[in-house]
């Protein structure tokens, strides 16, 4: 019974991922990895004997330990990859913020040289701290 439940959960997750991709809520690049995980989950759910066979081959006395260890290892790798990706995005974001600020300073300087009278009005920062 538990194997059927696990298999169904796997299939449901796969369906949810496809729906999210259809609604453009999940980038296809991330969706692909998750589909593979969900289908693997479903496969192992419907055929738990695969884990038993691999565990026996590796000499692991209690097969669920193999499934859990692999699951945790995959999660750790995934989280690490996410943090690496986040660092990249943070750098990109920070450099964009810096670029916007520099361009704003240039624009202000240009406005000042073209129209010295409007200098005081333009010193009010309308959209900062967003």
């Amino acid at each position: 019974m538990i194997s059927i439940v696990t298999g169904i959960i796997g299939l449901l997750v796969a369906i949810v991922i496809i729906v999210l991709m259809r609604k453009d809520s999940l980038h296809a690049q991330h969706g692909l990895g998750w589909i593979i995980v969900a289908l693997g989950f479903a496969l192992l759910g419907f055929s738990p004997e695969i884990v038993d066979a691999v565990a026996k081959y590796l000499g692991i006395a209690y097969p669920p330990v193999l499934a859990l260890t692999l699951g945790i290892a995959i999660l750790v790798v995934k989280i690490l990859l996410m943090d690496i990706d986040r660092s990249r995005i943070e750098v990109r974001n920070q450099r964009l913020v810096q670029r916007v600020a520099m361009l704003e300073a240039d624009l202000k300087k240009l406005n000042k040289s073209l129209n010295p009278q409007s200098n005081k009005e333009s010193s009010n920062n309308d959209d900062q701290h967003s």
Binding site: S87, V91, Q94, R95, V97, Q98, V100, A101, M102, E104, A105, D106, K108, K109, L110, S123, N125, D127, Q128, H129, S130
Partner: protein, 244 residues
């Protein structure tokens, strides 16, 4: 890179960078004191202040780069360095906005960089600070292998080579201007020297790091980890720096 649209205009070779966050009460006085001591253009990088820092700085005669989101002291300083790079400045002087750094010391600080003895000079004031700050310095020096006196000082002069390195992507990954920045500079073979300067107590506000224990613990863990992770790199490049 230096396509700033202002080619042909003569401009001073040096710019003063002041990262500022909510320093509206004091920034104008700081700018005026610098103007009294030297005639370098002053660039205030406003780190998304919620007070009137921008207006005060502009009225005191500084140019302002208004960051649309808060990036922290190093993020703001790097913005200034990127701007200095784009505008073709030869030297950039970074100073704090809280009135701690004396404009009269600028000449002493610029000297080793202008004479080509060093690529970066750091205004060091080892007398300042609490026992906590001094303990932090010792730990940082041990962890990073840096042989500098005042690792946390924001009073620095950078030449064009240093500006180019610090304007790049790798420097954007850093959160603070101390160990990470100095190790990056050393790894590129740049020479860094300490110059003993006097520092005043902060006229306004307090340190953005050394004001709460929790912040200090986070800062120290972060900085020590960075120092230790890059230590070998620092050692490898320490010999040419020590020779000067």
């Amino acid at each position: 890179m230096a396509t700033d649209g202002y080619k042909g205009l003569s401009r001073p070779a040096t710019v003063i960078l002041i990262p500022a966050f909510n320093e509206g009460d004091i920034i104008a006085e700081v700018i005026r004191s610098i103007h009294a001591a030297c005639n370098y253009p002053i660039l205030v990088i406003d780190d998304a202040s919620t007070d009137n820092t921008i207006i005060q700085a502009e009225q005191a005669g500084a140019s302002v780069i208004p960051l649309p989101a808060q990036l922290g002291a190093w993020g703001a300083t790097q913005t200034g360095l990127r701007y200095a790079m784009r505008q073709g400045y030869e030297y950039a002087i970074s100073m704090d906005a809280d009135g701690q750094h004396e404009a009269d010391s600028i000449a002493d600080l610029v000297k080793p960089v202008a004479e080509g003895v060093a690529d970066v000079s750091i205004g060091a004031c080892t007398r300042r600070g609490s026992a906590l700050r001094k303990f932090a310095w010792i730990l940082m020096k041990q962890a990073s292998g840096l042989a500098l006196e005042d690792i946390t000082s924001g009073f620095r002069v950078y030449n064009r080579k240093a500006i180019r390195q610090l304007a790049g992507w790798r420097a954007t990954l850093l959160d603070y201007q101390d160990i990470g920045v100095l190790l990056l500079l050393q790894s590129k073979g740049l020479r860094i020297v300490d110059v003993e300067v006097a520092m005043l107590p902060r006229i306004n506000g307090k340190s953005r790091v050394f004001h709460s224990w929790l912040m200090v613990v986070y800062y120290m863990c972060h900085t020590l980890m960075l120092g230790l992770s890059k230590r070998r790199l620092a050692r490898r490049y320490q010999t040419p720096q020590a020779a000067h």
